[in-house]
């Protein structure tokens, strides 16, 4: 009995020694409502759902150089035609929900990251895994680790978010401004 416990403890410490901490990682920053307040303050805005046509999708893709993954746009609009768009950006290793404010002149008035998720390399290639992020509410997150706050590492590039913002300004240019 003792010997078995001893062997088990040796095995456990060996595994502990060889395998560093492994986690998938997700972090929630602000809710969609908070993002709206951060970007537009108390401005009155009403929800507006927009469905892009195939033509609009390809025009936006051509003008922004970014693939449009979803034709459904979730947005809020004010009486002055200021917009707030909720979007999801999928990068090589990350999957990000963000809110982008666009003025009635087409200028970006603010960008807030709402949820940031990191994933295993192979998962991002898996369609079923990707599908879970579409049409999901903000509350449906993957595992959130609230205990460990900070991560340090080689700098992550935010190029996919920048591309996503460009795609949304083109969406305004091609579609939203004419509504």
């Amino acid at each position: 009995m003792k010997r078995r416990a001893f062997i088990r403890s040796i095995a456990a410490s060996l595994v502990g020694f060889l395998a560093p901490v492994r986690r998938s990682y997700a972090k929630t920053y602000v809710t969609p409502e908070q993002a709206k307040n951060l970007i537009w303050g108390a401005l009155d805005m009403v929800p507006k759902a927009i469905q892009l046509s195939d033509d609009q999708q390809s025009i936006i893709e051509n003008s922004s150089g970014v693939w449009v993954r979803s034709k459904n746009i979730k947005a809020l609009v004010s009486a002055e035609n200021h917009w707030l768009i909720y979007d999801t950006v999928i990068g090589k290793h990350e999957n990000i929900d963000l809110a982008v404010g666009i003025t009635n002149q087409g200028k970006v008035s603010g960008v807030e990251i709402m949820v940031y998720r990191e994933s295993y390399g192979y998962q991002i290639m898996n369609r079923r895994w990707l599908a879970q992020f579409f049409n999901k509410s903000h509350a449906d997150n993957l595992k959130i680790d609230r205990n460990v706050v900070n991560i340090s590492g080689a700098t992550l590039s935010c190029v996919h978010v920048t591309d996503g913002v460009n795609r949304l300004t083109q969406t305004w240019q091609q579609v939203l401004r004419w509504l």
Binding site: E112, G121, V148, V149, I151, S152, G153, A154
Partner: protein
């Protein structure tokens, strides 16, 4: 008057080419925290605009284009960074060098500005006097190894006094107020699946590794102008983030010796090095 309840805010914005996260805890209202975090993000944005190599309109691009021909007037922030960079270069005998930009352009890691530099130029050809900078040879500087840390420090000092706790994390270069016993995860590999947990050893931490640039390494050994070939992850704890950021570049070059070659240098700057191989903490 009763003390106000502790309140906190956690935000993240795409700035400095990465994700900048600010977390604040203070005895302040929601509106005050929003205003304070807005000011911190604005401070980072202004450093981003001044010190970006990628922006054609940045102060850095202006300097790179003109400082060989005439002395360029510097903003106070730029002067502070250039003076600090020169000090670290001097103390490290050139192991930290902000003039390696041409080698990064050759690797495709920075855009080509069409400037033809002298390949013998080094950090001591950048001369800062009385708020102006002059290059002694045609050269280009890149602040990629120091400006992110400086931006974190600027945002941090702006808000520190008003917060009970505060963390500014610019894509891994971070500074936190109540750092004692605070755990932090350090990324070990490209897939992000391996994270190593350590406790903070000082207020600021920076990490350097080459796992994001497939086949390319942004760490250049200034003496030979060659990329470092290893894939080690190095971290540096220091009293401010600019120092931590800059010293990781030296530690990365020095990681073969696990930081022992330049121990005196790190001690002089009051910094604590940490080197990882692919599986474990080495030193």
């Amino acid at each position: 008057m009763a003390l106000m309840k502790l309140n906190s805010i956690l935000r993240c914005k795409p700035l400095l080419g990465t994700y900048v996260e600010i977390s604040m805890t203070a005895r302040r209202s929601d509106a005050d925290l929003v205003a304070l975090s807005n000011r911190a993000f604005a401070a980072i944005q202004s450093i981003d605009q001044a010190m970006s190599f990628h922006r054609p309109t940045s102060e850095l691009t202006y300097i790179n284009r003109h400082a060989y021909r005439y002395a360029c007037v510097l903003s106070p922030a730029m002067e502070e960074v250039l003076v600090q960079a020169a000090e670290i270069s001097r103390q490290s005998d050139g192991l930290f060098d902000i003039t390696v930009a041409p080698d990064l352009i050759a690797q495709g890691l920075l855009p080509d500005l069409g400037i033809r530099p002298d390949h013998r130029a080094a950090w001591d050809d950048v001369v800062v006097t009385k708020g102006r900078v002059r290059f002694r040879k045609p050269l280009m500087i890149d602040l990629g190894g120091i400006a992110k840390g400086y931006a974190v420090d600027r945002a941090f000092s702006l808000c520190e006094g008003e917060c009970v706790d505060l963390t500014v994390n610019a894509g891994g270069d971070l500074r936190t107020k109540l750092w004692q016993k605070k755990p932090v995860l350090i990324r070990q590999n490209r897939r992000h699946t391996r994270l190593f947990q350590v406790d903070m050893r000082d207020t600021a931490l920076a990490t350097s590794a080459s796992y994001y640039e497939s086949g390319k390494n942004p760490i250049i050994y200034p003496k030979t102008r060659q990329s470092m070939k290893h894939g080690r992850v190095v971290s540096m704890f220091a009293a401010n983030c600019m120092m931590a950021d800059a010293l990781t570049k030296i530690l990365s070059i020095d990681s073969e010796s696990q930081g022992t070659n330049h121990r005196a240098l790190y001690q002089r700057f009051n910094a604590k090095p940490m080197v990882f191989n692919s599986h474990a903490l080495m030193a």
